[in-house]
């Protein structure tokens, strides 16, 4: 077999990504010392809305915080056990269990006591979202909590009345924010944040599109370190500016054939959250010349996409690119609701077929030779229907490997067995360790 060898080099944006991430957690923890406000909520929360309270309002998003805990195995286990000791079932969302554990232990992963938020600002689409923060609020002695129901159906069936339903909750939410913080609300700041969010999430999709190139400039493991910033503050200008830098770097890598990995013999994608404590799975693939170029999860958790005139899947055109000037609060909220409802990762809550179609589309457009599906016991929301996806991908002609695990509970992941399964899968693709 001909094994192509490409030049590769570390990402120039790597250190800045780490700095931004550290700054995010530091800003949240130190917000009160600096006279600011802290809020907690999910990575999919409408984070642009609390920005209307001022520039000193800092979020803590639960899923990436839960994922971060995976990298400290000792703390991770203590968090999970603390939650179980409190009586919560082991088969609940494992991000949520880690987050609750951190509260129960009153320890913040990044040092010190767990910093209590001033309010919870959540949305609700999966079965755990609102319950997560209801319990978190109770564990922290009663933090004011607001949740917006966004489970209105897939984007291709969205009507004006469904948008109205979400926007009316947003309007109420702004009044609620004013009441519980005692602050005035600045619509200009909201409008800026909505522009920022559209830019950030469209830019991320544009970055992912460049991975259609051979050799791929980015591998999935590296993508995790970059996409995470969108899950922290997708509404911030800083993250948008950073993604613009990443996009430039990716264009440079594409033009100069700088690959993510030295050998790219076959291209794969994975699905759902990875087992965060075992990202070496992706490095292991590289020994065979197999590169995971992303996943529906990395592409579509924060990336916002649309059908392009040539039939391909590409970054959604932002309101600013269309020349739309946002002038009112209602207009900003309406755009924000519509934008988020088109999020790829929200579609398959309603039907696994929607997800299969997107995955097959990725397989074709990114020219894949195989797919690895993580039967993730830690997230019911993103794993629902995954066996259906497997059948659809096989029917479409793509080899599929499945492995069981849990994104955040390493007790449910068998590393040796998974590697052994990868060995078999690689052999079926005709690959041997290079």
């Amino acid at each position: 077999m001909n094994i192509p060898t490409y030049k590769t080099e570390p990402l120039k944006c790597w250190n800045k990504a780490k700095e931004l991430r550290n700054e995010f957690y530091k800003n949240y923890a130190n917000a009160h010392e600096n006279g600011g406000i802290r809020w907690a909520g999910g990575a999919w929360s409408f984070g642009a809305i609390p920005m209307g309270l001022g520039n000193d309002v800092y979020p803590l998003t639960g899923e990436p915080y839960g994922a971060s805990i995976a990298f400290n195995k000792e703390f991770s286990l203590r968090c999970l056990e603390a939650t179980e000791k409190k009586g919560y079932a082991r088969d609940l969302c494992s991000y949520m269990r880690s987050y609750w554990g951190s509260i129960i232990l009153d320890e913040f992963l990044f040092g010190g006591k767990f910093p209590k938020p001033d309010f919870m600002w959540q949305d609700h689409i999966c079965c755990s979202h609102s319950k997560w923060y209801q319990v978190a609020s109770e564990l922290e002695g009663g933090i004011p909590t607001y949740s917006i129901d966004v489970a209105v159906g897939p984007y291709n069936e969205v009507t004006d009345s469904l948008i109205d339903y979400i926007v009316s909750q947003m309007h109420d939410g702004i009044e609620w924010l004013k009441k519980i913080t005692g602050r005035e609300y600045d619509d200009e700041k909201l409008i800026d944040a909505v522009y920022n969010e559209c830019r950030t999430t469209s830019l991320w999709a544009e970055i992912c599109v460049l991975n259609k190139t051979k050799p791929a400039p980015l591998d999935e493991k590296s993508m995790y370190s970059l996409y995470v910033l969108g899950t922290l503050e997708k509404h911030s200008k800083k993250v948008g500016d950073f993604y613009a830098e990443v996009l430039d770097e990716m264009k440079y890598r594409v033009e100069n054939q700088i690959a993510a990995t030295k050998h790219e013999v076959v291209r794969l994608i994975s699905d759902t959250q990875p087992p965060w404590g075992f990202l070496n799975v992706f490095r292991y693939l590289e020994n065979f010349g197999a590169v995971s170029v992303g996943s529906l999860y990395t592409f579509g958790l924060i990336g916002i996409w649309e059908d392009k005139p040539d039939g391909t899947w590409g970054a959604r055109t932002t309101p600013q690119q269309k020349g739309i000037k946002i002038e009112t609060r209602d207009q900003a909220l309406r755009i924000l609701a519509d934008w988020n409802l088109s999020k790829p990762e929200w579609q398959h809550f309603y039907s696994p077929h929607q997800k299969s179609e997107m995955m097959i589309r990725i397989a074709k457009e990114w020219d894949l030779q195989g797919i690895m599906l993580h039967y993730n016991r830690g997230c019911e929301g993103l794993s629902v229907g995954i066996a259906e996806n497997r059948l659809a991908l096989i029917d479409a002609g793509y080899p599929v490997m499945t492995f069981e695990g849990n994104m955040r509970d390493e007790r449910e992941f068998d590393s040796a067995k998974t590697m052994s399964r990868i060995d078999s899968f690689m052999e079926t693709l005709g690959l041997k360790i290079i």
Partner: protein
């Protein structure tokens, strides 16, 4: 041309030596704790039986969950590849290979050329493998050799509800306490394993011919339960436990 295949399984080590593609010697031994030394000793014994000197050997290919222990091998392949190669080489009509060993059950779907299309493996649970039968045999005080024969004497359908070997053992003990006959419990155990394996086979999809390999193919009660669950016959090679080693020997690394 001498090619050797070594299958270092979870419980047994099996070795096959081929001369120009024909089996000229074979042997097996309990893996024990000193797998590396045991593999080497069995290798020497298998060569000696056929009067082959180590210098005459052109390739040694290891497979099995403990294949790294056979560090004198020149090449290694996974169990999935070895099983498919061995079974399809022996039976070119094979389209599905079911391999049930001590610790793992696997089903493999192949195309007309013997190429693997899809495969499924059991997860970390042992309830779809031979170790489960051994554990239940201990609970029933039936030797592993008699387990299949005894289960064939039963015509009862007793579903084992537990999906886990540990819980199933406690269910078996409960059945014993309720005076259920041993033959009926043995059949229930074989039915339970067959059900798990059938579900894996359905996952990858199967069509005839189906080749059943691995040590569990010698358990007649399991074979009866499996053919009933699959609603079709299976072909069992003469020495089903050697097929991985045979397949490995064929995969010379060239």
């Amino acid at each position: 041309m001498i090619n050797v295949g070594i299958d270092v399984g979870a419980k047994n080590i099996k070795i096959v030596a081929l001369q120009d593609g024909k089996i000229v010697s074979k042997g097996h031994v309990l893996a024990g704790f000193e797998t590396k030394d045991t593999s080497q000793a069995l290798y020497n014994e298998v060569l000696k039986k056929a009067n082959i000197s180590p210098e005459e050997v052109n390739s040694i290919t290891s497979t099995g969950s403990g294949r790294k222990a056979a560090d004198f091998a020149s090449n290694s392949v996974t169990e999935v590849t070895a099983a498919a190669k061995g079974a399809t080489n022996m039976f070119p009509s094979a389209r599905c290979v079911i391999d049930v060993g001590a610790e793992e059950g696997r089903t493999i779907r192949c195309d007309n050329d013997g190429k693997i299309i899809d495969f499924a493996l059991n997860e970390k649970c042992a309830a779809g493998a031979g170790a489960f039968i051994e554990a239940m045999g201990r609970a029933l005080e039936i030797s592993i050799e008699d387990f299949g024969k005894i289960s064939l004497q039963s015509n009862q359908e007793i579903p084992l509800n537990a999906q886990c070997a540990v819980f199933a053992e406690s269910e078996v003990v409960s059945l014993l306490h309720s005076k259920t006959e041993k033959k009926d419990i043995a059949k229930a155990v074989n039915d339970a394993v067959a059900s798990r394996i059938t579900s894996m086979a359905r996952k990858v999809g199967f069509e005839k011919d189906i080749i059943l390999i691995g040590g569990m193919a010698k358990n007649t009660g399991f074979v009866a339960a499996l053919t009933k669950a699959l609603e079709t016959d299976v072909i069992i090679p003469e020495d089903p436990e050697y097929i991985l080693a045979y397949g490995a020997a064929l995969l010379t690394g060239n």
